[in-house]
Symmetry: C2
Subunit: 319 residues, 2 copies
């Protein structure tokens, strides 16, 4: 130990952790001794006494979908601000796998952030009881959560289509069992019906380009607009429609419920929902930090998602 500085380890520890609890002169000596020896504090030992590892676990369903990159980036930034690091794991949309990962991460981290579209409410509740837990894009009871309000955003998007005159709108839905997808479906159906319009649900479908192509052939004839669960489905739809000779937006309008950057570079650019995922990531880490330090009881935060209107949506032909 750095009693190269000629002090007790207690003083050394203080000099590095609580510089103000020690005489300036000794602080300097310790500092220098530490440098000279290339002293590296042992995180494990510190964690053992303090009960804090300074690590936060982050479980995402996948990293293949660039959709999640901003979330990780945002979380990363906030983690830095709280002097902690991120332990990232990937569940592959598998509830069992996710549970195993969460268990293992719990041993190492001070708390967990989970974006878990699958996975049972009960399991999450139980997990939240044991250790600090923040959910992302999902609400379970009174568990702390940060959600991007895609439902409200989607409502705006729907309103936009309705205002354009669309009355038969296809919703190309996402993976089976997705919590978010169910919320959206319910909202769309109800809201459309209130406005005297109809939602034609296709799916559930895997949220992929190929599934979008297939869906493009299955769109009901009546539909003058299609709303896709995500960008990949939208890109597939665009491609499929193009191949089939149906023009967007002349023959059919198209919009997506999330907004990967490619959507703005297609022909035509696709109307989409800007989901503030980076902010979600940042906020989730902040919340978890509050939870860990016990600074505050936190509940659900809701970040608005806003439609980005592009050239792929226009009034239906019949008008």
């Amino acid at each position: 130990m750095a009693r190269e500085a000629g002090v007790s380890k207690a003083t050394a520890s203080r000099a590095l952790q609580r510089p103000d609890m020690v005489a300036e002169a000794t602080r300097q000596r310790v500092q220098e001794a530490a440098e000279r020896l290339g002293f590296q504090p042992n995180a494990a030992a510190r964690a053992l006494t303090t009960g804090r590892t300074g690590l936060m676990g982050l479980i995402v369903p996948t990293l293949s979908n660039p959709f999640f990159a901003p979330l990780v980036i945002g979380a990363q930034q906030a983690a830095e601000d709280t002097e902690s690091h991120l332990l990232i794991a990937v569940s592959e949309y598998d509830a069992e796998r996710e549970a195993a990962l969460a268990d293992r991460l719990s041993e190492q981290a001070d708390g967990l952030i989970m974006v878990t579209p699958v996975g049972s409410d009960a399991a999450l509740r139980e997990r939240g009881r044991r250790r600090p837990l923040v959910l992302v894009d999902r609400q379970v009871g009174r568990l702390p959560a940060v959600v991007a309000d895609t439902v409200a955003g989607l409502a705006e998007l729907l309103d936009h289509l309705l205002a354009l005159g669309h009355r038969d709108i296809a919703y190309v839905s996402g993976p089976a069992g997705s919590w978010a997808d169910e919320q959206r479906r319910a909202m769309l159906t109800a809201r459309a019906s209130d406005a005297g319009a109809r939602i034609h649900v296709l799916g559930p479908l895997p949220p992929t380009f190929d599934a979008g192509i297939e869906a493009s052939a299955a769109l009901p004839d009546a539909a003058t607009a299609a709303l896709a669960y995500n960008s990949y489905l939208a890109l597939g739809l665009l491609h499929g429609l193009g191949v089939a000779g149906r023009r967007v937006p002349e023959d059919i309008s198209l919009a997506a419920a999330d907004d990967l950057s490619t959507l703005s570079a297609t022909t035509p650019p696709v109307t989409a929902l800007d989901v503030p995922l980076q902010a979600v990531g940042t906020l989730a880490v902040t919340r978890l930090h509050e939870l860990i330090t016990g600074h505050r009881r936190t509940v659900t935060s809701r970040l608005p998602a806003a439609p980005v209107l592009r050239a792929s949506t226009a009034p239906p032909r019949s008008l």
Copy 2:
């Protein structure tokens, strides 16, 4: 502690860690007691005695560029196989920041994987001396490294262009100070010259879509083909050329030195280099694990990058 099972903690520990060193009956009792109490081993305490945290640090320059996603995914998978977790941090291409992150991660992790296009050789050498370190896409002395052989792949790509008949080829280069970029430039210039052709270097440029657009206007008149440092530059070039009324590949051929998925969905699809980044990530973790467990002295592994020929490359007009 789980002496709910009526055994000493020593036995309890053994029952859970070395099941074969304990009588089957007691193993069961301990097991059950652990379940009942929801016992969670404390990773910090274990790390303190064993000297292993089971964590690996991974520092990437950015996560905004989907280029790195496969790397993380590959690393993730391999980490799972070695029973370890990944601590991921982002350097933002900032050497100073990177150094700070590396220092902090070193305290927590058993070793580090760094993909560091910037950052000085000397600093990396020193770091490699202190703790297990694996470099990605970079070689520094005899430090263990895993590199995707984009230089060799690019040579193939160049050969392809030469075989098509191109003699004046623009290389739209990447960020200033990039290790990989320099390697490429040198190879291209030398190899082209050997074949009686010329490389026109544009840049250094930020590896972005917008920079690609600008570069498209700056291409030398003589150039019948352009090779871009990465997909974003290639997409920008494609866009810029399209706007300017120059057709790809009729007027000019285009290729990229990496291969984001969008390149295959453009019009025309863009010839590119398939960089096996996922395999790189996997191998890097495997190497680091070997290093940590001392199973093997490892040096540089080189994974081949192969050209994917698409419609954006064709013989030059003049032929």
